[in-house]
Amino acid sequence: MSDPVERFLYREARLMDEHRYKEWLALWADDGVYWVPCNEDDIDPKRRVSIIYDDRERLQQRIDRLASGSVLAQDPKPRMRRVLSNIEWEDKGAEIEAQSNFVLVLARGETQQVWAGRSLHVLRRQDETFSIRLKKVMLVNADQEMPLLQFLV
């Protein structure tokens, strides 16, 4: 596969599926923001609550906790596989804006869950690859009562 943006997104997805937290964190820019809005896709995060709104420092701590082995909802770790599709991206000069859809199936204990949404990646060119400056994940169920989200989307 030749498209470097797609290659990057697929790899990111695989790292999330396989709980490879440290490698996933290494994809992020130092000023990266990981955002999962709540209720609606376009809210003002300064006035409205999000499901996740991590700057790089908080993201580091989220990963430290996930990697610590002490997260109860990760004992045992869910098995996950996701499919990325409908990838569209635009070259904005210094940055690339990519949008994609995902469907994620998660199995743990007696339950199987399906999660889906659309992701916006703002990627900064870095050497031969990219770093994530913003990832905004717009969950289909952002306004529904949802089970725990104790994995990476």
């Binding site: 999962v36 709540c38 209720n39 809210i43 995060p45 300064k46 006035r47 409205r48 609550v49 999000s50 499901i51 996740i52 709104y53 991590d54 700057d55 420092e57 908080r58 701590q61 989220r62 430290d64 906790r65 610590s68 002490s70 997260v71 109860l72 909802a73 306004d143 529904q144 009562e145 949802m146 089970p147 725990l148 989200l149 104790q150």
Partner: protein, 421 residues
């Protein structure tokens, strides 16, 4: 259900019977005797700022709508068209000129009056508009912006119901430099596979379970905020845990001294401190700013924890919805409120670093009580040192369970029909 069940026997002697978490007939009785009688927390005044603003939330199992009237009154109705009983308003929230039933077009004013019954001529003399207004929920009241409603016409007043818990609600609201908070901040929505009572039980005993299930999250929190929480565990403090009359529970941290944050305060923080001093005076402001606000449970469905209000919604005996709404401080610098949102998301909601461990534990708790070999839970910590309080409640040390005993005592009396919820 079997009317001979003695709920006080199932909740006395520092024991709680497992059937209270898993018996569908008991759940139905809870709806009748607790949820459809009690003062149920519905929402906050700040969610209904302008005339026509509405929120749609159930009282127990009964759909209700709260809408701000043209004269500023807060009207709460059963969310049911008087014509054929259709759900009048199916959205969570919004703003409406009028409430129009989508089924046959009957339209009501914000005050509940029937405006248009549609094709009225066909009713002959049989329909007097004034007889077909929306049915108001019998009792509505508010305290410090928190709106409560009761589906029962009778029972203690809201003031009586809240009683001494008002003092603790005051402490929460007084963290605002205007004395008012904003809850118009969006709603994190979560569901778990467990009984609704597990949530208040779990939410107000974090000091005991904290070192076991939140250890890493607390270490990370401390690293980030600089706030040293270890003092809470090293020496248990008297009178932190409180059972109040009416089934309310409190973790009262006024007696706990926290090691101050190591970081230098920001400009915004200094400005906020100055606003607090201007409003409350130096001494009270210092107290409000250097202690953790209390954790509060108002029976049956309102919980305040650190950053937010939690609203508990029973779905079935083994399923519960939880709604988290972070609380912003009206009039405080934007930077302070933004930091509060980030603090909240970091800890709470479906993807937080603290409350999800609680949720996972509650689901396991629900699975555990399916075992009926010895069908009792033990909530006896601190029984020997429980102190009666002048407010009619009792208090215990930081990790004691006297508040749980108080909640269950109240529950038993209500479920036996011997006390109002």
């Amino acid at each position: 259900m079997d009317s001979t069940v003695d709920f006080e026997a199932l909740t006395s002697g520092a024991r709680v019977h497992g059937s209270l978490y898993r018996d569908p007939a008991i759940f139905e009785r809870e709806l009748d005797l607790i949820w459809h009688k009690a003062w149920v927390y519905l929402g906050h005044e700040s969610e209904l700022k302008r005339p026509g603003d509405y929120i749609v939330r159930p009282i127990g199992r009964q759909p209700a709508i709260a809408i701000r009237g043209d004269d500023g009154t807060l009207n709460v109705f059963f969310n049911r068209c008087r014509h054929r009983g259709n759900l009048l308003c199916h959205r969570d929230r919004g703003a409406a000129e009028t409430l129009r039933c989508p089924y046959h077009g009957w339209t009501y004013g914000r005050d509940g009056r029937l405006l248009v019954p549609t094709f009225e001529e066909g009713y002959g003399e049989g329909l007097r508009r004034e007889d077909f207004g929306l049915t108001p929920v019998p009792r509505v009241g508010s305290y410090r912006g928190l709106v409560f409603a009761s589906a029962s016409a009778e029972g203690p007043s809201l003031d009586e119901h809240l009683g001494p818990v008002k003092e603790y609600i005051d402490l929460i609201m007084d963290v605002s430099p205007t004395g008012e908070v904003e809850l118009d901040t969006g709603v994190q929505k979560l569901k778990y596979r467990g009984n609704w009572k597990l949530l208040p039980e779990n939410s107000l005993e974090g000091d005991y379970h904290g070192p076991f299930i939140h250890r890493v999250a607390f270490e990370l929190h401390q690293r980030r905020s600089g706030l040293d929480m270890s003092s809470l565990y090293e020496n248990e403090i008297r009178d932190v845990i409180r059972a109040l009359p009416g089934g309310h529970m409190v973790e009262d941290y006024r007696g706990a001294t926290m090691a101050p944050p190591r970081r230098q305060p920001s400009e915004a923080r200094l400005q906020y401190q100055a606003m607090m001093e201007a409003r409350y005076g130096a001494e009270k402001a210092r107290q409000l700013l250097t202690t953790i606000p209390p954790l509060v449970y108002v029976f049956p469905n309102l919980i305040y924890v650190m950053t937010h209000i939690r609203r508990v919604q029973p779905v079935s005996v083994g399923e519960t919805y939880v709604y988290y709404q972070p609380l912003l401080l009206k009039g405080a610098p934007d930077e302070i409120n933004e930091a509060r949102l980030r603090e909240h998301e970091f800890g709470f909601g479906p993807a937080g670093l603290i409350s999800p461990d609680d949720v996972e534990i509650m689901e396991r708790n629900q699975r555990g009580v399916a075992a009926q070999g010895n069908d009792w839970q033990f909530i006896g910590r601190g029984l020997h040192r429980e102190t009666r309080q002048p407010d009619g409640g009792a208090s215990g040390f930081t990790m004691d369970e006297c508040h749980l005993r108080g909640m269950w005592r109240h529950y038993g009396r209500v479920m036996n029909g011997r006390a109002a919820p």
